[in-house]
């Protein structure tokens, strides 16, 4: 028997969405970011198909994980019933579009289909961000700026995965790719900064702070430095780019894990007025 409060009134860690739900955001975000990377590079690059397939697999794995969490697995199709207001429904539709376009792209080998799929993947990532924003019960999720953060980190993670694997396969990567990747890193750091500033009162800062620091230093500054290093010293470019990509990926995963599992406190209960008990 533990001694902690079970139901408040102080904020407590939500216990509804566990690692399975967090995995959807983690893998789904990375997958959509990877798909966007594919979309941006497919035209000039042969060999985009395995990356597209990997991206689809990551998104599917994320959705599969969250499917494991729902209480009525056989009713999963009900998730499509509320496109009117539910971002979870919209996320599911976006996923449907992603898979349809992605499958077509793989089957027909058309880069423009991959680009369309990338657009759908961007929408998918956007929906994930909106899912969190609508979660009024969790201050750290309903903070303005969370959508941009989720989208930005998806791009940075996917980009990081793309750059990392590509760097392992090719010796040098086209500078535009690195530029766009660097942009994604900077955008993510900016999104984090904006989100952090808007963090609602009551949302716990400590857990997020440390993962934010990891994001800024380990997931942005370090990769940027490594990319620059690689540009300046071509012999180390491949290794540097791999590490940069992985660092960007891991930092993003760390942030999302913390956001969804460690910092996911509800706001508890508060009394703007105290009752007046009898006469004065």
């Amino acid at each position: 028997m533990s001694a902690g409060p079970k139901y408040g009134p102080k904020p407590w860690l939500q216990a509804h969405w566990d690692l399975r739900a967090a995995t959807n955001f983690i893998l789904g975000g990375t997958g959509s970011g990877l798909l966007v990377s594919v979309a941006l590079t497919a035209h000039g690059t042969p060999g985009w198909k395995p990356f597209l397939a990997l991206a689809l697999a990551l998104i599917a794995a994320g959705l599969g994980a969250v499917w494991l969490e729902i209480g009525r697995k056989l009713r999963a199709m009900h998730v499509f019933f509320n496109p009117f207001t539910s971002w979870m429904t919209r996320e599911s539709f976006a996923a449907l579009v992603v898979f349809t376009l992605g499958a077509l792209a793989l089957a027909l080998g058309r880069p423009w289909l991959a680009q369309a799929a990338g657009l759908a993947a961007l929408a998918f990532a956007f929906c994930q961000g909106r899912i969190l924003l609508a979660s009024k019960g969790i201050p750290a999720w309903r903070t303005p700026g969370v959508v941009a953060l989720i989208v930005a980190t998806s791009l940075a993670e996917g980009g990081g995965l793309f750059v990392g694997i590509k760097a392992a396969l090719l010796a040098t990567l086209p500078t535009p790719w690195l530029a766009v990747f660097a942009l994604a890193l900077v955008a993510r750091a900016a999104a984090w900064s904006r989100y952090r500033a808007r963090l609602a009162a009551g949302a716990p800062r400590t857990a997020l702070e440390s993962s934010g620091r990891i994001l800024v230093y380990g997931g942005t500054a370090a990769p940027l430095a490594l990319l620059a290093l690689g540009l300046m010293l071509p012999p180390v470019a491949a290794s540097a780019d791999i590490v940069a990509g992985l660092a960007a990926l891991v930092a993003g995963w760390r942030l999302k894990f913390v956001l969804l599992r460690r910092a996911a406190y509800n706001q508890g209960f508060s009394l703007p007025q105290l009752p007046v008990r009898g006469g004065h």
Binding site: H16, R72, S86, F269, V276
Partner: protein, 215 residues
């Protein structure tokens, strides 16, 4: 129009949890699921300390975040304001549970019983539909509806009134139609100062907390 609402008079509540227990009886909720419960809140620093007992549960909001986020439309809102869950539609994603600012929703994945094996009273009330899905306070809508059908007044006639309100030994809980200016609820709101929980989130809760007379 009608809007069913509840009042908790914080001046009267003593935190006894009779309503918590009565709700569990009437609704046969599994262990640890408390659709109605009472918080024990402390404010201040010794010796300037105050302690309040705060009944909470589903606020049956006019702008329910749970309903907006529900992907399956299992969560709906009746015309009379009561927010409902269709257990057969719900997929148990628990999105509503994280969307609710009042921690009012529960999801029990597997049947659980007080002492491991079910007692006859638990077997009698067992409802398989309620596992793996979201559940919450219903404002005892079945009692309200059955009572209305017999011409009874919810909040006045016990048979038409939520169990928690019926059970309160401090007369701290009240239930009635907030849109009827002559109702018990409306009168209490007119005579007293009140607030709603987390009002700044824009949920428009249907649950009011009285804290002082209007002076």
């Amino acid at each position: 129009m009608t809007r069913w609402a509840m009042i908790a008079d914080l001046r009267r509540c003593v935190g006894c949890q009779t309503c918590t227990a009565a709700c569990k009886h009437t609704n046969a909720t599994p262990p640890e699921v408390q659709w109605r419960r009472v918080l024990d809140m402390e404010v201040g620093e010794y010796p300037e300390v105050q302690r309040a007992f705060v009944p909470v549960g589903c606020m049956h909001c006019a702008e329910p975040p749970c309903m907006h986020v529900c992907p399956s439309t299992a969560t709906r809102q009746r015309a009379d304001g009561i927010v409902t869950i269709d257990y057969d539609l719900c997929i148990g994603c628990a999105y509503c549970a994280v969307a609710c600012p009042y921690q009012a929703r529960y999801k029990t994945d597997h049947p659980e019983f007080a002492y491991g094996e079910p007692m006859p009273s638990e077997e009698q009330r067992f409802d398989a539909r309620r596992f793996g899905v979201a559940t919450k306070c219903t404002f005892c809508s079945d009692r309200v509806d059955a009572g209305l059908a017999q011409g009874l007044v919810p909040g006045v006639d016990p048979e038409a009134t939520p169990a928690c309100v019926n059970s309160c030994i401090a007369k701290a809980l009240h239930f009635g139609d907030a849109e009827d200016p002559a109702s018990n609820i409306s009168q209490l709101l007119a005579e007293n100062q009140y607030f709603r929980m987390h009002e700044e989130l824009g949920t428009e809760p249907g649950f009011y907390y009285l804290w002082d007379k209007r002076r």
